[in-house]
């Protein structure tokens, strides 16, 4: 009898990129659900729009590059990028913000560098930073959480708001938007108020902002699930939270009037999303086990430094891109000792 000959190992592979990406998407569900609950269905519209644009952009550029389209789209990486970018945007961002960001992420940050696996920078964060630098006004207008009495918008209102940039006649733009907790700490500190005073403002909840705490909890839950499923290692999230927490604790211990509590920093803004879903992007992170811990610590520290002393209230995107820059060097200096070789 004749048989085909193939090289060993013959055992079936235990994992696939498609499976990894799918689980990342599943793990995002609790966070997205919380966002939808507190900020309305705008987030879902943004996600749908981003995914559609991402798939279209990925398919076109794969076509231009002469690469297989169908089998590559199936790897879900474009969808992951689109969703991560969409949930980072303000929920009332006009449609063109999403489109520009996604196009930049997929076409320039991902495919002009060679596509999946070859991009040195996290595509979603590259898209986000482009938008933040180019359109600061649209990128900082956050909707107030529902519980703060922001007007109830129905589905049609939402579509009109995002695609036509129109609010219902009886609602003023300023009435529905407000600064994010991070932004408000920053501005109010500039006005000479102390942190304990600022924290009495209505936007704040128990730890960080109202609603924001639940969103962070959702991402934390999803992230822990990813860790349990061994899709991500503990090194980057723990490193990031530790780096941020450590910096925040030291400053808080020195002066709790000028610096917010570490618990605030760990829950506010994009900390949880960044720690578990963005900094952990394997393509752009350091790869060695020790390297990843250092990489996480570095990003966490940068987040704090930029938040407190830099020009932007949240800093996850900048910190991650800076971290991406250092990944090759970190890998170079954290090579493990090979079995049987001298250190």
């Amino acid at each position: 009898m004749k048989f085909s000959t193939v090289m060993s190992p013959h055992l079936q592979p235990v994992n696939s990129v498609d499976r990894v990406m799918l689980q990342v998407l599943l793990a995002l569900i609790p966070g997205i659900a919380a966002m939808t609950w507190f900020f309305g269905i705008g987030v879902l519209i943004n996600i749908a729009l981003a995914v559609a644009v991402a798939l279209l952009a990925e398919a076109s550029i794969l076509g231009l590059r002469g690469r297989p389209i169908g089998s590559t789209l199936k790897d879900l990486s474009a969808i992951v990028t689109a969703v991560l970018l969409a949930i980072s945007l303000p929920v009332i961002a006009p449609w063109w913000i999403t489109v520009v960001g996604v196009l930049f992420a997929i076409v320039i940050a991902k495919h002009l560098y060679g596509g999946l696996g070859y991009n040195p920078f996290n595509p979603a964060m590259a898209g986000y930073v482009l938008l933040l630098v180019s359109f600061p006004m649209q990128m900082t207008a956050w909707l107030a959480p529902i519980e703060l009495g922001s007007a109830a918008l129905n589905e049609v209102d939402w579509l009109k708001l995002i695609f036509l940039e129109q609010l219902p006649a009886n609602i003023e733009f300023d009435a529905v938007t407000m600064a994010t907790p991070l932004d408000s700490v920053r501005t109010q500190l500039g006005l000479g108020r102390s942190v304990p005073e600022i924290k009495t403002d209505s936007v704040f909840g128990l730890l960080a902002g109202k609603g924001w705490e639940w969103v962070a909890g959702g991402y934390l839950l999803g992230g822990l699930w990813l860790m349990w499923r061994k899709i991500i290692g503990w090194q980057i999230p723990v490193g990031l939270l530790l780096g941020l927490g450590l910096f925040a604790s030291i400053c808080y211990a020195i002066d709790n009037n000028q610096f917010a509590a570490p618990s605030f920093h760990l829950v506010a803004g994009a900390t949880m999303l960044g720690a578990f879903f963005i900094a952990t992007d394997p393509v752009t992170a350091a790869t060695s086990v020790n390297g990843r811990l250092i990489y996480g610590l570095l990003i966490g520290s940068l987040v704090y430094v930029i938040r407190v002393w830099g020009g932007y209230p949240d800093a996850m995107a900048f910190a991650v891109l800076l971290g991406n820059l250092t990944a090759p060097a970190i890998d170079y200096f954290t090579r493990p000792r090979v079995f049987g070789q001298k250190a």
């Binding site: 190992p9 013959h10 055992l11 393509v283 049987g340």
Partner: protein
């Protein structure tokens, strides 16, 4: 209970051992024809010592060579040498090579055995010669001549013998059942090896799930009343059965990169090899048979068979009820490091521990390879602590210098990285290719160096000859001038 150590990485693989582990060893029927590739070990070509038409007896040497890695090959039954012809040999290349074909006569007559009366009275050199003469090689799969391993040289002090009973590859159970069936032969073999090596410590390592084997060996040791030998259970983690990994787990020692176990005072032998040593020394029987696991969902009855070396695989499969329709691939060895055979009219050799007739559902049939996403799972799984992903980039780019820098040659090709790779990249293929390219390049460089030495020598010789010629002609001229001067002087005097 002895303390055990850990090595980095490794995988817990689905074992599939129950298919064959709990059935008695079946004696395979004597085949009509025995096939003996003259290359029992890749790269070592034996010379036939018989010619077509010769009659042979079981245990008679039919091929040998004076290559230092060669061991003699014995006929596994009586019969007539039919021919020496090219047949497909069990080798990853799937190529043909000369084989001795013996038609068996069914009488199975053997040469009279020549046992050693009391091995304890024999010097190590005699035992080594006897072991080589019996054709014994490592039966764990590598087929390295046992007599050479027993001679580590005076500069290395050996203190421990480890018998490898850790069958870490999925499916394979031949060592497990042998330990259950013949614990005394293994224990006696171990004591002979310890005597030949003059070591005081012997450890038999079995995986923690091999309860019966552990008990059988413990009882056999008890009976031998030799306190120098112990059995130890080690975790079933692939590739614990790899020599350097096993030494690490059992002794905590790390065999240096590029070195051999003897460098850390350890000699490793497979349990089957120990039994073969016992048979050779105490029963005078050369190595002509071994236990082979025939398994996989692609064969009707999975079992362990005691088969004559040289038996065609198709014979064994027939005695196991034939193939299932689902059979997809025929593998010699395990699913991690074994190689796929192009057909089943290929004989088992000394190194054949397993014939895996795998169904399509058991093996990777179509991998959807995607770009590397740098997830680092490969580095986590690597038992040698390499960076497989970096090695992949450099071997793909053909950058052999970088491959060397990332310790390509420390890679044991265990396949862990490839099995965990979510991008399903055929990593091991890249490493094998880079290794052979490096070796080819080194050979090329060596050739070039020899050619250069020759050329330089030629130039040097030419220059020397020229100088000598010039010197000669100068001397001639001088002599001539002297002569002339003398003549003139004489003429003047006259």
């Amino acid at each position: 209970m002895l303390k055990t150590w850990r090595f980095h990485g490794g995988l817990r693989l689905p074992a599939h051992k129950n298919l064959s582990a709990h059935r008695p060893i079946v004696n395979a029927e004597l085949p009509k024809q025995l096939i003996y590739p003259l290359q029992q070990r890749p790269g070592v070509q034996l010379k036939a010592t018989v010619a077509p038409g010769d009659t042979v007896l079981r245990g008679q040497i039919i091929a040998d060579s004076d290559h230092f890695l060669a061991t003699p090959l014995h006929a596994a039954s009586s019969g007539t040498v039919k021919s020496i012809e090219d047949r497909i040999i069990p080798h990853p290349s799937g190529l043909s090579d000369p084989c001795i074909i013996i038609d068996t006569d069914g009488r199975d007559e053997a040469l009279p055995p020549e046992p050693v009366e009391d091995y304890r009275l024999e010097p190590a050199a005699t035992l080594r010669a006897k072991i080589r003469q019996a054709g014994i090689v490592g039966l764990g799969g590598a087929a390295f001549p046992t007599s050479i391993k027993l001679n580590p040289g005076p500069q290395r002090h050996i203190d421990t013998l480890i018998l490898n009973g850790a069958e870490c590859e999925p499916y394979i159970t031949c060592d497990n059942v042998l330990m259950q069936a013949e614990p005394d032969a293994i224990v006696q073999g171990a004591l002979i090896l310890m005597h030949a090596l003059q070591v005081g410590d012997g450890i038999i390592a079995v995986e923690d799930h091999m309860t019966e084997a552990f008990q059988a060996l413990s009882a056999a040791i008890e009976q031998s009343r030799d306190r120098r030998l112990t059995v130890v259970k080690i975790p079933a983690l692939y590739p614990t059965g790899g020599e350097k990994q096993l030494i690490r787990v059992v002794t905590g020692k790390e065999t240096p990169s590029g070195g051999i176990p003897a460098d850390v005072g350890v000699i490793c032998q497979n349990v089957g090899t120990a039994a073969a040593v016992y048979n050779a020394i105490c029963r005078g029987l050369p190595l002509t048979e071994r236990v082979v696991t025939v398994t996989g969902q692609g064969v009707k009855q999975q079992q362990n068979m005691r088969a004559r070396i040289g038996t065609p695989i198709s014979d064994l499969i027939n005695q196991c009820g034939g193939y299932q329709d689902s059979v997809e691939r025929l593998i010699m060895g395990g699913p991690m490091m074994g190689f796929a055979l192009p057909e089943d009219d290929i004989p088992i050799v000394k190194a054949t521990n397993c014939i895996l007739a795998a169904a399509g559902s058991e093996v990777a049939t179509s991998k959807e390879t995607r770009p590397c996403i740098r997830c680092g799972d490969c580095a986590k799984a690597c038992p040698v602590d390499l960076l497989p992903q970096q090695l992949y980039w450099h071997s793909r780019a053909g950058n052999l210098e970088k491959c060397k820098e990332f310790s390509l040659f420390d890679c044991i090709e265990c396949g862990c990285c490839e099995v965990v790779c979510p991008s399903q990249i055929p990593l091991v293929q890249y490493y094998r290719a880079a290794k052979s390219k490096t070796i080819a390049k080194a050979k090329e460089a060596e050739k070039a160096a020899i050619a250069k030495r020759r050329h330089d020598f030629l130039l040097e010789r030419k220059a020397r000859e020229q100088a000598e010629r010039a010197e000669r002609s100068r001397r001639k001229k001088e002599a001539l001038a002297k002569l002339k001067a003398a003549e003139t002087a004489t003429e003047g005097a006259e």
